[in-house]
């Protein structure tokens, strides 16, 4: 039976793992390859690197990071941020990544998903969707209406005209083989995943959905899968700050009857 995945996400800038709020006050948290290896040892089912390097000239360092990681952490590796062309995706894959995640670039140029899927297969193309809940219109009838979300880009700073569920369905038609769905309302708030958003999307697509944004504790991971229909759950700060171990999250998921990969080395 297919296990539900637990995925730590690392923000990488200029070849180093950084931590910060809204891209400011970044602090150096160490070497990405070393941290990825540690997470893999602790039971991470996959690692996501999010390249938040601001300057284009810093991009080359990401390839080096991927190369070093692929030579020591033998789990799947996804790289997001900064890839805008088929050639750039090829470079990232050839450095040792398994998948590339597109966000702003996919909104700007949806054909990019198709071109990359045709070249490397859908399984290597992840579409990251940052969604923000639209305010409900006033009135009794509106309160009964189902919630809706809009797609935002540039780390939430820019709104688009796209409705999130429709965009999700379209990206899959275009060639995305997996969706990384982040609730911008919950991101960084530690108030739990937006399971309504996850369910709205996972019920409409056949590809796996990765839940992101809002994890506070193991119970949230269970809810993302059980209530949101997520196939995998991604989190950053709760792992980095060692509030919860990957093993503890998986133990909670297993206790809730969800299939997870328990590793011998994980311990706790």
């Amino acid at each position: 039976m297919l296990a539900r995945r637990v995925i730590p996400c690392l923000d990488v800038a200029n070849g180093r793992v950084v931590k910060g709020t809204k891209f400011v006050d970044l602090t150096d948290e160490g070497d990405p390859a070393e941290l990825a290896e540690r997470y893999a040892r602790e039971g991470a089912d996959e690692i996501v690197f999010l390249d938040i390097t601001a300057a284009p000239e810093g991009r080359g360092t990401m390839l080096e990071v991927v190369r070093r990681t692929a030579s020591r952490a033998f789990v799947p590796l996804t790289v997001g941020g900064g890839v805008r062309t088929v050639t750039e995706m090829r470079d990232v894959l050839r450095a040792g990544a398994d998948k590339v995640s597109f966000n702003t670039a996919a909104v700007a140029d949806p054909d990019l998903l198709t071109d990359c899927a045709r070249k490397f297969g859908s399984q290597a193309v992840v579409c990251a969707i940052d969604a923000r809940r639209l305010p409900a219109a006033a009135g009794n009838a509106a309160e009964m209406a189902p919630p809706a979300w809009e797609v935002v880009t540039h780390g939430g700073r820019q709104a688009t005209e796209l409705e999130a569920v429709a965009w999700a369905v379209r990206t899959v038609e275009l060639g995305a083989g997996e969706l990384l769905v982040t609730s911008m309302d919950r991101d960084g708030t530690r108030s739990g995943f937006d399971t309504e958003l996850l369910r709205a999307i996972s019920s409409r697509v056949r590809v796996p959905v990765i839940a992101s944004g809002g994890a506070a504790g193991p119970g949230d991971f269970v809810a993302a899968v059980r209530d949101g229909g997520a196939d995998a759950v991604l989190a950053a700060s709760i792992f980095h700050r060692r509030m919860h171990s990957i093993a503890a999250v998986k133990a909670a998921m297993a206790a809730a009857g969800l299939p997870v990969r328990i590793t011998e080395e994980a311990g706790s």
């Binding site: 297919l2 296990a3 030579s71 033998f74 090829r90 050839r94 450095a95 399984q123 796996p208 990969r261």
Partner: protein, 213 residues
């Protein structure tokens, strides 16, 4: 053996993930050689055919690099060869994953590669349990039902059931590992499957060393 490390050639035919495959082999105790042409196969002890992607373009790349005939000769000579994911699928007669829905492949094993049926999610991405159909040295020391990493939408259906070593279920059960003489095929990625994958590659190298002795 004589104490020296085995040399394993990883066929490079385009977009395949060469870095992880080579590094995983090194970590399992071999010297990995990236083989982009026939001349790179001299002096190697085993071949690995990696691969993620579609069958039709993969066959085109293999042909362009002059690797098809050397690969066929290698396997027909009974030398050890391990196919992973798409590489495993290419061992069979043909694949439905072509531009016109029919791509002829290497024909080393009888059977056809078809789309996964009744899968709850597609592509089949993630860690799934691999269940033994019969004991095989490739899985020595690995608990039955261990999780390995999969990423694919198609799967071969071997005509000869005697080659089937393991099965996995995603919707319906499918064949996730085969062995026929010194030809081994895996639908999952040992190079991405942490400790279980490492052990499997060590076991493969053990089979290569045993056969060469």
């Amino acid at each position: 053996m004589s104490g020296s490390r085995l040399r394993v050639a990883v066929l490079d035919y385009g977009a395949a993930n060469m870095v992880s495959m080579s590094q995983a082999l090194v970590s399992a105790g071999a010297d990995a050689v990236v083989a982009a042409g026939p001349s790179d196969l001299s002096g190697v002890d085993a071949l690995v055919v990696p691969g993620v992607g579609a069958a039709a373009p993969a066959m085109v790349h293999l042909r362009e690099r002059g690797l098809v005939e050397p690969l066929l000769e290698w396997v027909r000579a009974g030398k050890p060869c391990l196919g992973i994911c798409l590489g495993y699928q290419l061992f069979f007669d043909a694949s439905d994953e072509g531009d016109a829905g029919d791509a002829p492949t290497l024909g080393l094993l009888a059977g056809r590669t078809v789309a996964l049926e009744d899968a709850p999610t597609l592509p089949h991405i993630g860690w799934n349990s691999v269940e033994a159909v019969k004991p095989h040295p490739l899985f020595e020391g690995i608990a039955d039902g261990s999780y390995f990493y999969f990423v694919h939408s198609f799967v071969p259906v071997p005509a000869d059931k005697s080659v089937v070593v393991a099965r996995t279920t995603h919707g319906r059960p499918f064949v996730s590992a085969v062995a026929s003489g010194s030809l081994y095929g895996l639908q999952f990625h040992p190079e991405k499957s942490a400790a279980a994958g490492h052990r499997l590659l060590v076991n493969f190298l053990g089979l290569v060393a045993g056969g060469a002795a």
